[in-house]
């Protein structure tokens, strides 16, 4: 067992501690360096992850490195990288940068652990590590009431759902007599279903659904995304959200084979409600961050279609959309951050900087940001050629084909609903696009800070790149799906 495979995690952990340590030593002035350091570290570990070949298990089968973990790690690291690069400007000259970067890195590690968790215990630990770091990050602007409120709501609902999750895990453990996923799988392959399993499953769904922000476990998401510092929102929406999905893949799809039918029913309901709710509510939002929050709820709805059919194609589609969403949503939030910066530079004490009115004429004021935001919106709406389109394409295809091959009207209805939703979503994206390009600008052209530009452009490259040449990622997603041993 070669620990090289764990190098990314190890690197980031060490780096996190190092960053905090350095923070203690150096003066507030020179803390800006930390951002570059952690960015470099994340980049390095991203390369390591991509470079990793082969798979293995560690720590008495508690962690596993396999294609599924790989692709999700890439997602998590990439998102954190974007967030960190943007933060270099966002948190410039903030005296708590050390903690900030440390927390981001730790959160990343936590997500990575979840991605490769092979045991309910490691999963829970990783989950909590990531959650707690993000609780703090959400409330990082200590003087800003809405940031704190966001953190509080996030924290309360979060810990509530981790309680639910833990309870579910305890039941699983009780039934199967083990916390190790392969063993649980082995048990459920033979066992016949009992009410307890269903109960456990629902509790787990509630726990993971909180992270995925599925209706009705989503209530925290809009408030938190709106309230927290925008870069953190991008981390939450693009990154930690996916943690819920990978956990669900590992536990629900892989382990709880016995109750698959029920899982499909549950997710069919949740998916439909979630995507519809997200889109419908997003229409009437004034705050763009809030709108993006709802749109990412809707996206979660699409992704969870993967659980409804559970074919390799659909899981792959889910993974692809998750990957695409990481770039699109992350990038979009960062672009909103730029707008916030722009508004503040107009007027020091401006309230809700992400109001749609501030986007008027963005195409003139901040061309790069506007163009990128335009790309992200189209991608989110599923217009080709973009990562969003590829993801939806594979996902919807998988559902349709399943509907046809099993002559299931319900699946067809679901996919039609999904399609109508994705058409509806165009409405609110187009509204913002109109503000950016049709309405006259409210001020001068601004100089877009370099870190933002870099981060956003990286996101754009990710979004469009996947759209133009999806072959490699599709392969990865297929491999990842094959891990789950679905048909």
């Amino acid at each position: 067992m070669s620990y090289v495979l764990l190098a990314p995690e190890i690197l980031l952990t060490v780096l996190a501690l190092a960053v905090i340590l350095i923070g203690l030593l150096v003066s507030d002035k020179s803390k800006n360096i930390l951002g570059y350091i952690s960015a470099a570290g994340l980049a390095a570990s991203l390369l390591l992850t991509i470079g990793n070949r082969g798979g293995d298990t560690f720590f008495y089968n508690a962690l596993v490195i396999d294609p599924l973990s790989q692709i999700f790690k890439i997602i998590f690291i990439a998102v954190s990288l974007l967030a960190v690069i943007a933060s270099i400007h966002y948190f410039k000259d903030n005296r708590n940068q050390d903690e900030y970067y440390g927390l981001i890195l730790l959160a990343t590690v936590g997500m990575m652990v979840v991605a490769s968790a092979n045991d309910l215990l490691s999963l829970f630990v990783g989950f909590e590590l990531a959650s707690m770091s993000t609780y703090v990050l959400a409330g990082f602007e200590k003087k800003n009431p809405s940031s704190l409120e966001a953190a509080l709501k996030y924290f309360i609902i979060g810990s509530l759902s981790s309680a639910l999750m833990l309870f579910g895990m305890s039941l699983v453990y009780g039934v199967s007599g083990s916390t190790n996923i392969p063993e649980i799988l082995a048990y459920f392959k033979t066992a016949q279903v009992s009410g307890i399993d269903i109960l456990a499953m629902v509790f787990l769904v509630a726990g993971f659904g909180f992270k995925m922000a599925l209706v009705p476990f989503h209530m925290w998401a809009p408030d938190t995304y709106e309230g927290s510092p925008t870069v953190v929102s991008s981390l939450l929406a693009a990154g930690s959200k996916k943690m819920g999905f990978v956990a669900a893949f590992r536990v629900l799809v892989l382990a709880l084979v016995a109750v698959r039918a029920d899982i499909q029913v549950v997710f069919a309901i949740l998916a439909v409600i979630t995507m519809t709710y997200g889109n419908v509510v997003a229409i009437s939002q004034k705050s763009i961050k809030r709108m993006l929050a709802y749109s990412s709820i809707a996206q979660a709805g699409y992704i969870s279609l993967a659980f409804v059919v559970m074919t390799q194609m659909s899981i792959a589609g889910g993974v692809l959309l998750a990957l695409g969403h990481a770039f699109m949503k992350g990038g979009a939030f960062l672009a909103v951050a730029v707008v916030g910066y722009m508004v503040l530079s107009d007027n020091k004490n401006a309230k809700n900087t992400d109001d749609i009115s501030n986007f008027a004429g963005l195409g003139k004021r901040a061309p790069i940001t506007a163009l990128s935001l335009f790309v992200f919106f189209l991608a989110l709406a599923g217009i080709p050629p973009s990562a969003g389109f590829i993801g939806k394409f594979v996902l919807f295809y998988s559902v349709t084909s399943e509907a046809v091959s099993t002559a299931s009207t319900w699946l067809l209805v679901i996919v039609v609903i999904a399609i109508l939703n994705s058409a509806l979503s165009i409405y609110y994206y187009a509204r913002v696009i109109r503000y950016m390009y049709v309405l006259p600008p409210a001020g001068e052209r601004i100089h877009e800070p370099l870190p933002y530009v870099v981060a956003i452009l990286l996101a754009v490259i990710g979004t469009i790149g996947i759209g133009l040449y999806p072959e490699p990622v599709i392969k990865m997603a297929m491999d990842a799906a094959s891990v789950l041993g679905v048909i």
């Binding site: 295809y397 084909s401 399609i419 390009y437």
Partner: protein
Amino acid sequence: MTAYISLMIAIALIGALIAFLTKTREQARAVALVASGISLLISLIMLSRFDSSLTIMQFAESYNWIPSLGINLSFGVDGIGMPLVLLSCIVIPLTVIFAWGETKEANKFYGLILLELVGVLGVFTSRDFFVFYIFWEIVLIPMYFLISIWGGPRKDYAAIKFFIYTHVASLVMLLAIFTLYFNAWNITGKPNFDMFLLLEKYQLLDGWLITNVISIKDAIFIGLLFGFIVKMPAVPFHTWLPDAHVEAPTAGSVILAALLLKMGGYGLFRVILPLLPFSDSPGRMITLMAIIGVLSILYGTFLALAQRDLKKMVAYSSISHMGYVTLGAAALVPLSVSGAMFQQFSHGLITCVLFMSCGVIQHSAGTRIIGDLGGIAKHMPKLTFLMLAGFLASLGLPGMSGFIAELLVLLNSYANLPTFVILALFGIVFTAGYHLWAMQRAVFGTFNEKLGHIHDGANYEIASMAVLILLIIFFGLYPNPVLNMMTATATPLVRDAAGLLGVIV
């Protein structure tokens, strides 16, 4: 294998990008003109090398793209695609010339026009369903901007309505494509998005989608049909069109009517006709299409009769003219189908003139309301001449391309769809009616002094319209260059279909 098609698309795309980056409007329009001019040149070369006797795809090219889903960037044209490629390459440069005076955000304006060219060329040439769909979607975005940036008072409503309405249609179409793809994958055992393979395997599909309500085949067929007739647009899915046209800038309307609507008709010939004989109830499907076609013809005509806004009237007239395309396609007679194809081509040319006339009038007189105009012929002789020519072409005057198209459709459709053809004939009188009514009220009669001082169209506007009129007359007198290749492709296409259905050919 000379890569004409990819070259053409690439040039248009590059031109668009350059145009976006240009600083002044002079540069922008120059770039647009050059790029579209080159693509026109290429399309002419293609036309000269095109072998009308062949029915297979010509200038075919193919590159791997997404092997794991069996998706290739493969292009090619046959008698269905080539004329439309030509049309696109004719219309876009002329639109650029017509819009030579555009000042507002010129670089974006011309860039978007070139993007439209990219989109339609892609649609008319892709042989891969995935690629086809991508281009099909790409077309929407520039048009959305053309409407919402340069549009009229209700542009936001119109633009978003256009975008969402047609997007829903294409998504429904996408579902049907999924099913075809899945089916082909099942049968051949490997993924492949090749358009013709998917269409060919359709006949091997069976089963119920909703038990005893609708079979998979019919569902697919209707899904695709829906996708196409919304684009055409056919009654009752047409309401996005008048709004879009009324609000869009002239160039936008021209491209919308001349090229975007043609995508729907193209779909009918390329996709629907091959599937038709194998659907579970071809008879009903034919009737459905025929009803839609005739309904569009008559409904469009009568609504055009009711309009006060000149441009809106023209918009409805497009609906009624596109009805002939559906009707001719449904009739499944080689000449009716090629007539329908020719109708696409000729309507593409004619509608340009009509919308350009509206544009010039709007620009010069400041209004398009027929009642507020009147007697402008006195001050706009050149425009009046061209506009009259355009209107006459549009009402199907012999010697103009529209006549030949509609004549072929009517003559040859009667064999299979007598009732519908008779109904369509009624439309003709009223078609003449609203055209002349509009001309008489808006252009002739005593000059309405309230309009104040109005001037004739600018030279570039008049020039582009004149070229179109010449083309209309040329193809009206000598349609063979495009008609022959259409017939060549239509004949086998229909013979298979009709042979299976046992209808008269």
